[in-house]
């Protein structure tokens, strides 16, 4: 990624568009913690449904009515345990889950009055103190002598490791980056994980013991799958996705300020001082998923004057939910649908604008195919998805589909002794909560397999 700060009049990309106080406010918690009274009143709104639709909608099947009732009854730590029983990363999920398309969409109060119980915020209310306490409420299981290699310290790998620890199985996590946490640490908007939450949650998970993290270790580069299979009793692959997709337009890789949104967000998340992070005056984001939204909103919060998000299809097809779109729009982001980039314009070797062709391509009503518009752009973010990275498997006999690993219901790959979960598997939902469920299910499957194989 090249970010070039140019002289005025040409391209305008620079750090420190806003003062420190404004930046601090812009990147504060999106939804502050509920007060005890607010939590109690909200908790009492829960109907304690039979066969609860919210729980069915939760990929980790948290017993939502029970934990909410525990909050209502003043048992906050008990509520936290109910959540962690199903989802050890209930803290981050409370912050980043698209609850509006999961539990809260299923809430019967949504049907009744379009005002669901705010399950996500209650979950955060329940889990925050336990995580702040820094100690997993679970005891490590009696040692079985079994060891599992986990590739990737993201949500899938961490959830797997914690569940294995409960079963008395040690794990070693191989992680290419400096910090554990995966996309929770590097890939999610800062205002959703304020106060270094992702890192604190990692410490909370590791506190159970029996989990070792080897940093700077990438599969295929520093460590080989066949070695892991040989040295460990089982392997869990949770390495996420690889390279970001490209537009395939001329000069895409040469022009300065054409930026991979995933990289930029990672840089933002790791920046100690946000006022040192350069951002364009006029920002264009191409894409329709959460990364596109996070890049667009955070650009605005960094002080970009105009931010336009352009998506090639309509709002119904967009991966980002209506809630996320509204968040972007109320943050000042303009969203344009049914337009695809046709040409990148540069002044010298620096981006100056993007030409779009708008049209519906035969999918729904929209502007006529072929009309063209141009957006001035000092910075262009590409957020058009990431590809799987099956090359890291070194040609192992693992079935891969569309670059992603095929697994069964227990998250077993087609290769004996290898499990996988999270964004790297085929059919995954690209959600933290799904990754956690994958890790948990895989760990249970691994524990069962290893216990059966015990001499």
């Amino acid at each position: 990624m090249t970010i070039a700060a140019n002289p005025p009049g040409a391209s305008d990309v620079r750090p420190g568009r806003l003062d420190e106080g404004t930046l601090k406010g812009n990147f504060a918690d999106l939804h502050p913690l509920l007060t005890p009274h607010e939590a109690r009143v909200e908790a009492e709104r829960c109907y304690f449904c039979f066969d609860p639709p919210c729980q069915q909608a939760c990929p980790t099947a948290i017993d939502i009515p029970l934990f909410i009732r525990q909050i209502a009854a003043g048992n906050r730590s008990g509520a936290a345990t109910t959540i962690f029983d199903s989802n050890i990363m209930g803290g981050i999920c409370a912050r980043v889950c698209p609850t509006e398309t999961l539990c809260e969409e299923a809430c019967v109060r949504e049907a009744a009055e379009a005002k669901p119980v705010v399950i996500g915020r209650l979950q955060r209310y329940a889990t925050d103190p336990t995580i702040a306490n820094g100690k997993s409420p679970y005891a490590r299981g009696a040692p079985t002598g079994k060891r599992v290699a986990i590739v990737g310290a993201g949500p899938a790998g961490l959830a797997c490791a914690h569940e294995l620890a409960i079963a008395g199985i040690e794990s070693t996590i191989f992680e290419p980056r400096e910090k554990a946490g995966g996309l929770d640490e590097y890939g999610i908007a800062a205002y959703k994980t304020a106060d270094d939450f992702a890192a604190r949650e990692v410490d909370f998970i590791l506190s159970i013991g029996g989990i070792e993290i080897k940093r700077g270790q990438a599969l295929g580069r520093d460590v080989k799958l066949e070695d892991l299979r040989r040295d460990y009793d089982a392997v869990f692959l949770g390495m996420g996705l690889g390279a970001t997709n490209k537009l395939g337009l001329p000069r895409e890789t040469e022009l300065a300020n054409v930026i991979d949104a995933v990289d930029y967000i990672a840089r933002l998340r790791q920046a100690k001082d946000l006022s040192t992070l350069p951002v364009g005056r006029r920002v264009v984001v191409i894409g329709g998923g959460m990364t596109a939204i996070d890049a667009a909103v955070q650009s605005k919060k960094l002080g970009a004057e105009t931010v336009t998000m352009v998506y090639r299809r309509g709002p119904e097809q967009m991966k980002a939910s209506a809630y996320e779109r509204e968040l972007a729009q109320t943050s000042g982001v303009v969203i344009r649908y049914w337009a695809r980039p046709a040409e990148l314009e540069g002044r010298g070797d620096t981006l100056s604008g993007v030409v779009f062709e708008s049209g519906n391509g035969g999918e729904g009503a929209s502007a006529p195919v072929g009309s063209v518009f141009r957006l001035d752009a000092d910075m262009l973010f590409l957020a058009i998805g990431q590809r799987g990275a099956p090359e890291a498997l070194d040609g192992a006999a693992i079935e891969v589909k569309d670059g992603r690993i095929v697994v069964d219901a227990e998250r077993r790959t087609t290769l004996e002794g290898v499990w996988a979960g999270g964004d790297c598997i085929y059919g995954g939902k690209d959600l933290t909560v799904s990754a956690v469920e994958d890790g948990k299910q895989a760990a249970r499957s691994i524990a069962a397999a290893l216990s059966a194989s015990r001499p």
Binding site: Y47, F48, F50, P53, V108, A111
Partner: protein, 437 residues
């Protein structure tokens, strides 16, 4: 507009809403504020005998239970009768009555259980030109330990005796205030009537400890580490009060005795319910202590609007109208059949009706129809118990429907059978015994 004027024992008030004997009616300044806000009358906080003033605790004297939004569900208190000097109270009562001639001013009394004490206080109170007296035989805390309050109200013979003394020593109307801390409220009510009392008022507060503090292992409201039971009032006590009022209203001995109803009256509707059970006036305390005196304005307008809507010109037009519908269980029609019906358009699929019926009642609500989440009553099992309608969060989604045609799949009997109650039911052993004679 409906005429809300009340004439209770010839005591007139512009509306039937009186403030009960309690802290809100402790002094002139409060009572005048209440009258300005629109209250029809007050029962002045209980006076005791002349002499050293009563001593109250200095610290929390009220406790409460709350809903999750801090809505007060019930309150209790350990306050005693007035701790102000008798002479000051008498002087203020006189001044207030002179200034507010159109309002009812009743004085509550509690003195030791001997005729001389009652004679003495009645003489003094009569001088104030107040409209009547209410004998406090109800307070369950503090004074009862000294042989007054509920200690009298729990012994019908004492009730009758004191009522008789009072009627002998005053020309003022005498209302006996009853305690609910008793098994059969009709007994003291009958005793009051036998003793010559003009009316009863009920209910006084209920023995209660509101909460236990699980950290300190004490009641949550304590005085220097110790607590005691208090008297409970507020919305939660209304059903108990309705039942007790109905018992007296239906009683052949007490029939026709005027009733001033008390117990959790918070809105016009609560008041109208007590009037429908025969109450001539209603007394309010907790609602005022929760919201201030202005609440009476909701009560007055609400009652008037209700009466207008129903075509009731005066309180008397609907007073007591619900009494004939209240009977003993044995007279309920056992051939009447109702079954629950769920309005699928209103149902929000919470499933509470199903799970409570399944777990705790008659397994009469299906949770799935053709494999799909849907809640439907199984008429072959439904006994019409009403539990589902009560737990349903959606108003009018579940209703009990009276079955009039066809055969009840649960019993195999026709829905349309002539009314029959337990007294003639074939399963009643007494019926067989009689037949065998």
């Amino acid at each position: 507009m409906a005429d809300l004027r009340s004439n209770f024992l010839s005591v007139k008030s512009p509306n039937p809403f009186w403030l009960a004997s309690a802290p809100p009616t402790d002094r002139k300044v409060n009572v005048e504020r209440a009258f300005r806000a629109g209250w029809g009358g007050v029962v002045w906080k209980t006076l005791g005998e002349a002499g050293p003033p009563v001593v109250n605790v200095s610290g929390a004297r009220y406790g409460a239970i709350h809903g999750p939004d801090r809505r007060l569900i019930a309150m209790n208190n350990i306050e005693l009768i007035t701790d102000r000097d008798l002479e000051i109270n008498l002087q203020e009562i006189k001044e207030v009555k002179r200034a507010w001639a159109d309002r009812a001013l009743i004085v509550s009394l509690m003195v030791p259980c001997d005729e001389k004490s009652w004679e003495a206080i009645l003489g003094r109170v009569e001088e104030t030109e107040c409209d009547g007296v209410e004998l406090n035989f109800g307070c369950p805390h503090g004074m009862s330990e000294r042989g007054m309050g509920s200690a009298v109200g729990q012994v019908p013979e004492y009730v009758e005796m004191v009522a008789r003394w009072c009627k002998a020593h005053t020309r003022m109307p005498v209302i006996v205030k009853l305690t609910p801390n008793i098994t059969d409220v009709r007994q003291p009510a009958r005793a009051a009537k036998t003793g010559g009392a003009d009316a009863v008022s009920l209910i006084n507060t209920i023995n209660s400890i509101m909460n236990i503090d699980l950290d300190r292992m004490t009641p949550d409201v304590v005085i220097d580490g110790k607590g005691t039971h208090g008297g409970m009032c507020g919305p939660a006590v209304k059903p108990i009060a309705l039942s007790m009022v109905s018992e007296i209203a239906r009683d052949s001995v007490c029939a026709g005795m005027p009733i001033s109803a008390i117990g959790g009256i918070t809105t016009w509707r609560d008041a109208a319910e007590f009037i429908a059970l025969g109450a001539g006036t209603v007394q309010v305390c907790t609602a005022a202590m929760t919201y201030g005196f202005k609440v009476v304005q909701e009560m007055v307008t609400g009652l008037a609007d209700y009466m207008d809507a129903k075509g009731y010109a005066t309180i008397e037009d609907f007073r007591g109208r619900a009494i004939p519908s209240i009977t003993d269980w044995q007279y309920l029609n056992l051939n009447y059949v109702a079954k629950a019906e769920i309005d699928q358009k209103l149902c929000i699929q919470c499933g509470r009706c199903h799970i409570v019926c399944e777990d705790t009642s008659h397994q009469a609500i299906f949770a799935r129809i053709n494999g799909k989440r849907q809640f439907v009553v199984n008429e072959a099992e439904c006994v019409g118990c009403n539990l589902c309608t009560l737990v349903c969060p959606v108003e009018d989604c579940i209703t009990l429907v009276h079955k009039v045609a066809g055969v009840d799949p649960r019993t195999g009997l026709d829905y349309d059978r002539p009314p029959a109650n337990w007294t003639a039911h074939p399963n009643n052993p007494a019926v067989h015994a009689k037949a065998a004679e």
